[in-house]
């Protein structure tokens, strides 16, 4: 359980560091009056992730103070059936994504060359990612 506590403390540190970084970026952007669409979207995205990071940080802090919550969280994270489900979701998800991206790529070729090239790049990247992950895990396991 000590390893898990260390892991949670590390996550809390990263979470707080991320929150502080986003706050500094937001304040800087506001002071510099940067209001273009891309920056506004990036800041909104960063703030959304900040809320998620904050929620997890609070959850981990609560677990560190309560032994029963800590054990429950440890079981939740290490449960073998949940891990098995996640692995299945990942494997199925990437195959479905490749199929959908390929179909979208073929259809977009009739609509817009730019969209077609984008979809082609996305499809190739996903196939490459799947192959590289396959090689990585084949060597590791």
């Amino acid at each position: 359980m000590e390893d898990f506590k260390r892991k949670l403390r590390r996550r809390i540190t990263y979470g707080i560091a991320y929150c502080l970084l986003v706050l500094v970026i937001v304040v800087t952007a506001m002071k510099m009056r940067i209001e273009d669409h891309a920056t506004s979207f990036a800041l909104g995205f960063g703030c959304g992730m900040l809320i998620v990071a904050l929620a997890y940080t609070i959850k981990y802090l609560g677990a560190l103070k309560n032994e029963a919550k800590l054990r429950a969280l440890n079981i939740e994270e290490t449960d073998e059936r949940s891990r098995h489900i996640n692995e299945r979701v990942g494997a199925t998800g990437i195959n479905v994504a490749i199929a959908v991206f390929s179909l979208a790529m073929l259809i977009s070729n009739y609509v817009d060359p730019t969209v077609f090239m984008t979809m082609l790049a996305v499809t190739l990247f996903t196939v490459l990612l799947k192959s590289l992950l396959g090689i990585y895990f084949a060597r590791r396991i």
Partner: protein, 68 residues
């Protein structure tokens, strides 16, 4: 895979949650193993067997693998 976990739990008046907590998994995992939807890993099978003081073969029914 069929298991004798439900019978052993009833004999000893242990809930799924108690067993799950003792072997370090969620209650849903124990439910899935009991109804045959999920096959426990070797490590989990060992922990469950140890918890009941029995061997793995006494708890998990491997007869359906005999023909393979």
């Amino acid at each position: 895979m069929r298991t004798k976990i439900p019978e052993l739990r009833k004999e000893r008046r242990i809930s799924q949650a108690e067993l799950a907590d003792a072997v370090g998994v969620t209650r849903q995992t124990i439910t899935s193993i009991e109804v045959g939807k999920y096959t426990a890993s070797l490590v989990l099978a060992y922990k469950i067997a140890k918890y009941f003081g029995k061997s793995i073969e006494e708890i998990f029914d491997f007869s359906e693998l005999e023909g393979e």
